[in-house]
């Protein structure tokens, strides 16, 4: 089965406009609630947008495929996209992290559009493998897309899942690794110098693997739809943490910090065009 050939068309110019808007929307939210992860959402935004707009198939208004945000702290990217799709409401986002709201800083199963609870790293890929396998034995034709962080790949459970994904021949599963080269205490490549890069390791585990610019949605789309499709696929997305706002890019504090009003204005002014 080559799921990719069934994908929708994907207009890159529209995707760029959407992602600009999503970045602004996330910054708007940061002026109401400071508990959010901006930079991790900005690094995977093009990927998540591509999954929803280019890869997941819709029928009768419902998605036939599944998305898991395994790096749960990137969920602002997912929330604003779900809002734009009408799955979540503006009211939901207005109440983000508020006592009467239902959206928190990590995705929670049961909230519309959220397929699994994540936040603890290293869980999403195993669940994605289980989901993809269930879709196969139930003959639904459903595919599963997951976004992992590059730090998350340090979890042993992630490697168990890579092992199982190929053993179970889950070729209806695509895992995107948001390789922004940062984790809480520094660069991933400096935390474990011999562990990164990852491409050969995923290949050795039996995954069809590509490494691409994670902000180039056209390239990502092309790679996924033209995949061989015999194996599960890993897409290593080379990304920039905080992408789109110069002073946030590759600066660790923006993992969790919200901009003050002045910083917010500066960021918004910058968000007129994001280069790919």
């Amino acid at each position: 089965m080559n799921i990719a050939r069934q994908a929708n068309g994907f207009d890159v110019a529209s995707a760029r406009r959407r992602c600009l808007q999503f970045r602004r929307r996330i910054l708007d939210i940061s002026q109401n609630v400071t508990a959010l992860h901006i930079a991790p959402a900005f690094s995977c935004l093009e990927t998540v947008d591509l999954i929803y707009h280019g890869l997941m198939r819709k029928e009768g208004g419902r998605f036939q495929d599944t998305f898991i945000m395994s790096k749960g702290h990137g969920c602002m990217a997912q929330y604003v996209i779900l809002e734009s799709l009408g799955v979540l409401s503006a009211d939901d986002l207005a109440k983000y992290c508020k006592p009467n709201g239902r959206l928190g800083a990590h995705p929670d199963y049961g909230v519309p559009g959220i397929a699994a609870s994540t936040g603890s790293l290293g869980h999403g890929l195993s669940m994605a493998v289980g989901m993809a396998y269930a879709e196969k034995i139930k003959r639904t034709g459903g595919a599963v897309y997951a976004v992992l962080s590059d730090g998350e790949v340090q979890e042993g459970s992630t490697w168990e899942a890579f092992m199982m994904g190929s053993t179970l021949e889950a070729n209806n599963l695509v895992a995107f690794i948001d390789n922004n080269d940062f984790q809480s205490l520094g660069r991933t490549s400096e935390t474990h110098p011999s562990f990164y890069p990852l491409t050969d390791k995923f290949r050795a585990f039996g995954w069809e693997t590509v490494e691409l610019n994670g902000h180039d949605a056209a390239g990502l789309y092309e790679a996924v739809i033209s995949r061989e499709g015999e194996k599960p696929m890993a897409v290593i997305c080379k990304t920039v943490k905080g992408r789109g706002v110069g002073y946030m890019e590759n600066v660790p504090i923006w993992h969790y910090r919200a901009p003050n009003q002045q910083e917010y204005q500066k960021a918004i002014a910058e968000l007129t065009e994001v280069r790919s």
């Binding site: 199963y109 397929a115 699994a116 609870s117 603890s120 290293g122 869980h123 890929l125 195993s126 669940m127 994605a128 493998v129 289980g130 989901m131 993809a132 396998y133 269930a134 879709e135 034995i137 139930k138 459903g142 042993g156 459970s157 168990e160 899942a161 092992m163 199982m164 179970l168």
Partner: protein
């Protein structure tokens, strides 16, 4: 017990195409081979990778299947604990985590294979139910229940193999969430669960020889605990005895004491559990139980009749 589990799961799997089993390099005998041959897609061996066993079960349950995760109790519950908590408990998914060899029945394998805190640990997770059958017949009832329900996760604590049938003369039928009397008397009530139930019968025999009329109840559902059933036992007997193959904290002994306080029970209450210590002895299951004081004669002698 594990063969009865396998036979029953095979029957359930034939009826219900959503039943699947994910094992971690250990498989029950019995009909499991038949299950594997007839439903190869619904039998997964992850190998020695317990975290993915639980995560994959969660993913399958999120897509509507009813998976069983199966391996030795320490490896099905302790090794992937945070996966059991987050993936199964937090998301409230109908996955049965089967722990084979609950307690200290792997009596020659050392402390790494003893599971003496599992009821407390599994019981602390919201949404989690716990069933610990005392014999193969209860294991069958429990497996049927687990395969039929879609409410949430269950930790199913099983013994090993070759356990005697203890429930053939049971007064009450097996029902999830309700303790059942296996025999009914007036003076002393012994509450127990799991395969240490054999000690309850041995103590019961000695009590009867001493002229006492003895009830024995299987508290097979350890969560949600049958508080009303325990209250009734406390109020209808002069002495209640808990015999438990589990640490003193968080199991039946501790909870029965809490209930006794809550309902102002006036009966004598004595509890016998494993100690809050690891076991470095080897030998038979009985030898290990005895090392922590779970010996029928020793228990009988402490009942101050």
């Amino acid at each position: 017990m594990r063969n009865k589990f396998a036979d029953t799961l095979y029957e359930c799997g034939r009826e219900n195409p959503l039943i699947a089993i994910v094992v971690a390099d250990i498989s029950p005998a019995g009909s499991m081979e038949k299950f594997r041959k007839e439903f190869p897609e619904r039998f997964i061996n992850v190998g020695v990778a317990e975290q993915s066993m639980i995560g994959i079960c969660a993913g399958m349950a999120l897509k509507g299947l009813q998976p069983f995760a199966y391996t030795i109790a320490t490896f099905s519950l302790y090794r992937p604990f945070e996966f059991v908590r987050d993936d199964l408990g937090y998301q409230n998914l109908p996955v049965t985590v089967v722990g084979i060899g609950g307690g200290v029945v792997y009596s020659t394998l050392g402390g790494t294979h003893h599971c003496q805190e599992d009821i407390a640990i599994a019981g602390a997770i919201p949404n989690m139910s716990i069933i610990a059958p005392c014999d193969p017949a209860e294991a069958r009832e429990a497996t049927i229940y687990c395969a039929s329900q879609r409410k949430g996760p269950i930790y199913l604590r099983l013994g090993k193999a070759g356990e005697p049938v203890l429930t053939d003369k049971a007064i009450d039928a097996w029902q999830f969430g309700k303790l059942r009397y296996l025999q009914r008397g007036r003076d002393v009530c012994i509450l127990s669960y799991g395969i240490v139930m054999k000690k309850a019968f041995a103590v019961g025999e000695q009590l009867e020889k001493a002229g006492k009329s003895v009830s024995i109840a299987s508290v097979h559902t350890m969560k949600p605990l049958d508080r009303l059933g325990i209250e009734a036992a406390l109020k209808s007997h002069r002495q209640v005895v808990v015999i438990e193959e589990h640490a003193p904290q968080g199991g039946l002994a501790a909870q029965t004491k809490q209930i006794a306080w809550d309902v102002k029970a006036s009966c004598d209450l004595k509890t016998f559990t494993l100690q809050d210590e690891f076991i470095h002895n080897y030998g038979s299951h009985d030898d290990l139980l005895a090392a922590h004081g779970l010996d029928a004669t020793k228990i009988f002698q402490q009942l101050n009749l």
